[in-house]
Symmetry: C2
DNA sequence: TTGTACGCGTTATCAA
DNA sequence: TTGATAACGCGTACAA
């Protein structure tokens, strides 16, 4: 591995000349510049990153902290999309990205700030901290630029990016009502998750607006089997339910199973709509309608927002990424 | 940000004493050690990574190079699983991981070696280089430890990790034959992909072994719609086909659509089996049988193999990760 | 057991 | 326009 010294020797100039040439300083003649680059090519010189960092004293990395990467027994599409978007945007603006998981961080037994400093993070995009997580408070109080995914909390150095869950939920109800449904059942996500409450709120407020007086709300915990079991139960008790709105696609799949087992046909006897936009819902019979969340765009926006915060520029703390209603055979 | 100097001052010792304390040198008394750690805690001192790297001259990162992270309009489960496994294992052994995409690398206009050196990579796990990619040769000739995913090529510093595609393919045929099928159609993947050939070979050799004389092989290019169109065509021509084996799950989904449109029932009139283990295939009607590839395990194994190579230890260049036949209603 | 001093590769300040 | 040279924070022979 050749160094700046070698290049300087080879080109017959000083070390600082090489440094200047590589950092686009104006105060260097084109002739020497060319000589330097030629020598550098010959030696295939590449600036040592550690040295650059040390010398510049920068904190160059962007941290993406996700809840878990090892849940290989469930759907991870949204996580992957978030990762994709974050990565893509980070690349575009030349930000290096390091990925961590929440458990991994907790094992360090460090505070959030310590962790970021230790890993030279200029800031972090954080997914998967629960609303009740003690970690969240520490994070909000820190001066490290932070962007939260799907947790609507703001701070002096903290913004969030999310889907407008309440609006999306409300739109789902509007859609069902427009198709003539009045007796609707909502399957809740996990109670500790903030989005669960937002989706529930959206559901309730829209139901009120439409003056629906026969709605049902059942727990689902974002778990397919729980949604399945509870859907089955309620369908047996309340045979007049004509539509089900699940707070996640996975739960919608559970509900679909229950619907079939009850001898009903989704899209005919009963309407079904989910939330997320999982690909799998395109392939069921019938294909299940859903609200597509743009996690890819969320990742991109999170990166840009983080950049704003880091630069000390004014930023808007609340960022909603547009969602899309995917109409399919189930409604 | 406090430095080693501050800690030394605070603890009333020299700089090197602090360094030694933090690096578990035996030659330091427990008393001073304790004093040092106490001072370090007070100042919440954290060693500067750039400085450590520079001083030690290490190449500490593990690179994971994947084909693309931005294909948010298709299934990415395998990529995500690979990422998960790699990340998990890297964490366990304390290896920092950086993720790159092939296009991202190519835009650097550097050779493989240059790229690795530039990013201080101790080695790389590489996915998504085609068999005909000129990049592949450069990679095989380099002295940088490398593990290829799904490309069966070895080198002095290069190993690969993959599913035993030929065996899996052969097993699929065995399974279909055991169910009484004799007229089987195989849908090929993309011709440039090595796994396509392996799966085809497995299919052909098994067909020969069972002396099947009425087999069909049609292109699918790993694309759902192509598989759909070609399946439809062949089903119309050869009405006696009783089983379809698709070289990917996505194509199996296309085939399933074609089967339905032809008025046939998968699992009854015609058997269908895919390859990959996508979750979506659990939710179709009927659920589609498939060969599950353990990409999570592949990621883990790749990390370990890379470690072996990097240490200069003998390594086995060919690593096959076990696959699993998932029997479902479609067969 | 502890401390001094140099080197790692780079940037940046200040003379020349 | 160039070139010495002092940082940057740390590890480590070597000396004490």
């Amino acid at each position: 591995m050749s160094t700046i010294k070698d290049v300087a020797m080879r080109a017959g100039v000083s070390i600082s000349a090489v440094s200047k040439a590589f950092n686009n300083y104006a105060e260097i003649s084109d002739v020497t510049k060319e000589r330097i680059f030629f020598a550098a090519k010959e030696l295939d010189y590449i600036p040592n990153k550690s040295a650059v960092e040390l010398s510049r004293g920068r904190k160059p990395y962007l941290g993406l902290i996700v809840k878990d990467l090892n849940t290989h027994n469930t759907f991870d599409e949204h996580m992957f999309r978030l990762l994709s978007g974050t990565h893509a945007r980070a690349c575009e603006i030349g930000q290096e990205l390091i990925i961590f998981t929440t458990p991994q961080i907790k094992q360090f037994k460090q505070t959030y700030v310590e962790f970021c400093k230790h890993h030279s993070l200029m800031g972090a995009i954080v997914q998967g901290v629960g609303d009740d997580d003690p970690y969240l408070e520490a994070l909000l109080e820190s001066t490290i630029p932070t962007v939260l995914i799907d947790v609507e909390r703001e701070g002096a150095h903290t913004a969030f990016v999310t889907t407008d869950n309440e609006k999306a939920s409300s739109d789902a109800v509007d859609l069902l009502v427009s198709k003539g449904h009045k007796k609707i059942c909502h399957i809740l996500g996990h109670p500790a998750s903030e989005v669960t409450k937002q989706r529930e709120n959206g559901f309730i407020s829209a139901a009120r607006r439409h003056m629906l007086d026969d709605i049902h709300i059942i727990p689902g915990d974002f778990v397919e089997d729980i949604a399945y079991a509870n859907t089955k139960k309620i369908l047996q008790i309340h045979k007049d339910i004509t539509a089900i709105y699940a707070a996640s696609d996975l739960m919608a799949l559970g509900a679909l199973r229950a619907i079939k087992e009850e001898g009903l046909v989704a899209g005919k006897d009963i309407a079904l709509i989910g939330f997320d936009g999982l690909k799998a819902l395109e392939y069921t019979t019938p294909p299940v309608a859903t609200i597509f969340q743009d996690f890819y765009g969320m990742g991109r926006l999170a990166v840009d927002t983080l950049q704003q915060i880091a630069k000390g520029l004014p930023f808007n703390g609340k960022n909603f990424v547009p969602f899309t209603m995917l109409h399919r055979g189930s409604i």
